[in-house]
């Protein structure tokens, strides 16, 4: 028993070397969950109309992803292959319930705004995808880092898309009106002529615009990293 413990520590204790750093940085760029792995698109479309919603969602997904990866990785050798999905879903559903109740207690207005989408984290393919692809075959510490990394990669895309959509769709950022008619406690945009000319573009509030924004993001990302381009 003592021997296996030592062995475990040698192989993958809580060390933080090059491989571990790669787990955190890869999902931000060359292995991004949304733009490269194509996971978690549905929620990226639904919550990105406002920056504040996207931010809370990103934190919630990161938490669920990291801890479901950790728990699944601990259990990975004792889960029979035939029922693995059900076991994984129970883990995810329990964590999502924790997030839901915490958010309800901590900030009720945000919970109200997000409630459906917090529940839908269960069906966010990014979590199941990482469990299947990484946590089922790797050690807990690395699986945990992989969860944090992918949560960050997901969150960054979410926030970029939300900034674009809120800016053009509502003429605002983070809830503060910057352009167009309307009064905010920071600035009265309707009284300053060069700020009030902008008419909010409602297309950016609708779902198809999120597809366009993510499509263009992928375009930029791949123009910058040509090795990611797939021919088909």
């Amino acid at each position: 028993m003592a021997e296996t413990k030592v062995l475990e520590k040698k192989e993958s204790g809580l060390s933080f070397g090059k491989a571990e750093r790669k787990l955190l940085t890869d999902p931000l760029d060359s292995n991004n969950p949304i733009t490269v792995q194509v996971l978690g698109i549905c929620s990226a479309l639904a919550v990105t109309t406002l920056v504040s919603k996207a931010f809370v969602m990103a934190i919630a997904v990161m938490f669920v992803l990291a801890f479901s990866n950790l728990i699944t990785s601990f259990l990975r050798n004792s889960i029979p292959k035939q029922v693995r999905m059900i076991v994984q879903l129970v883990i995810i559903a329990a964590l999502v319930t924790v997030v839901e109740l915490t958010l309800k207690a901590a900030s009720y207005p945000i919970f109200k705004e997000l409630s459906v989408f917090i529940g839908l984290i269960i069906t966010n393919c990014i979590i199941m995808g990482r469990l299947e692809a990484y946590a089922m075959s790797n050690r807990p510490w690395r699986a945990f880092l992989d969860g944090i990394g992918n949560g960050l990669g997901y969150g960054i895309i979410l926030i970029i898309v939300a900034v674009v959509r809120e800016f053009f769709g509502k003429g605002a950022l983070g809830g503060y009106k910057l352009f167009g008619p309307g009064v905010d406690f920071l600035i009265d945009t309707s009284s300053i002529s060069w700020l009030s000319w902008y008419a909010p573009n409602n297309l950016f509030v609708l779902f198809p615009s999120a597809m366009f924004v993510i499509g263009i993001l992928i375009w930029i990302h791949r123009a910058w990293r040509p090795n990611l381009v797939d021919i088909s």
């Binding site: 194509v38 978690g40 559903a93």
Partner: protein, 200 residues
């Protein structure tokens, strides 16, 4: 006639993929060729068609306050629905692995991901919120599955053809698929104004 109405409405007007953008992950990742899209589309029709009546029975006979427990248990809805969906997908996976190994291999990770295909869970939740009865919910499930099937076939066919077009290199593949889906979604939004009861 009412059932046909629901079928057409859920397949075209309230298309799960292009009007509600549900099930996008597998929709985008498996639509590279019509062949794999066809397989996944059929699997989705099957899973939706089966889970919808089962979830209807769970909702109405088990969770409703008229059920055996005599109390309102609808807070268990999400977990029970997802458990039903997960076991059905596991079943489909085992059947496909037995019957067609090439299809099983080409679907890869996206077969287990049907479980977390939001179109399936979303369909069940829509079924609850629209208060369908049993036969209507079957029609809704099959119609929704059929609409999703059509959508993924359509995008797969477009993506097969667009290889021959002069798309900027960095936009090829995934980027173009996103923009195409956005355009198809805009087209489907104009169908939303149609009143299905007028088509009789």
């Amino acid at each position: 006639m009412e059932l046909v109405n629901i079928f057409i409405k859920s397949a075209f007007i309230e298309n799960l993929a292009l009007a509600y953008f549900l099930g996008m992950c597998s929709y985008l990742a498996v639509s590279k060729t019509v062949k794999t899209a066809f397989g996944l589309g059929l699997a989705v029709i099957f899973v939706l068609g089966i889970t919808m009546p089962i979830n209807w029975m769970i909702e109405n006979y088990l969770l409703a306050d008229t059920g055996p427990f005599g109390t309102d248990l609808t807070f268990l809805r999400l977990i029970l629905f997802i458990a039903v969906i997960a076991s059905m997908v596991q079943l489909v996976e085992m059947v496909i692995e037995k019957v067609s190994p090439p299809l099983y291999n080409s679907l890869g990770i996206f077969l287990p991901l049907i479980t977390v295909n939001c179109a399936i869970l979303g369909g069940s939740l829509f079924m609850v919120s629209k208060e369908y009865n049993l036969s209507e919910s079957i029609a809704f499930g099959l119609g929704g599955g059929f609409g999703w099937f059509l959508a993924i076939i359509a995008i797969a066919a477009i993506r097969e053809k667009i290889i021959y077009s002069d798309v900027p290199p960095a936009l090829r593949g995934l980027g173009m698929a996103f923009i195409l889906t956005g355009l198809m979604g805009m087209a489907f939004m104009s169908l939303m104004g149609i009143d299905p009861s007028a088509i009789k």
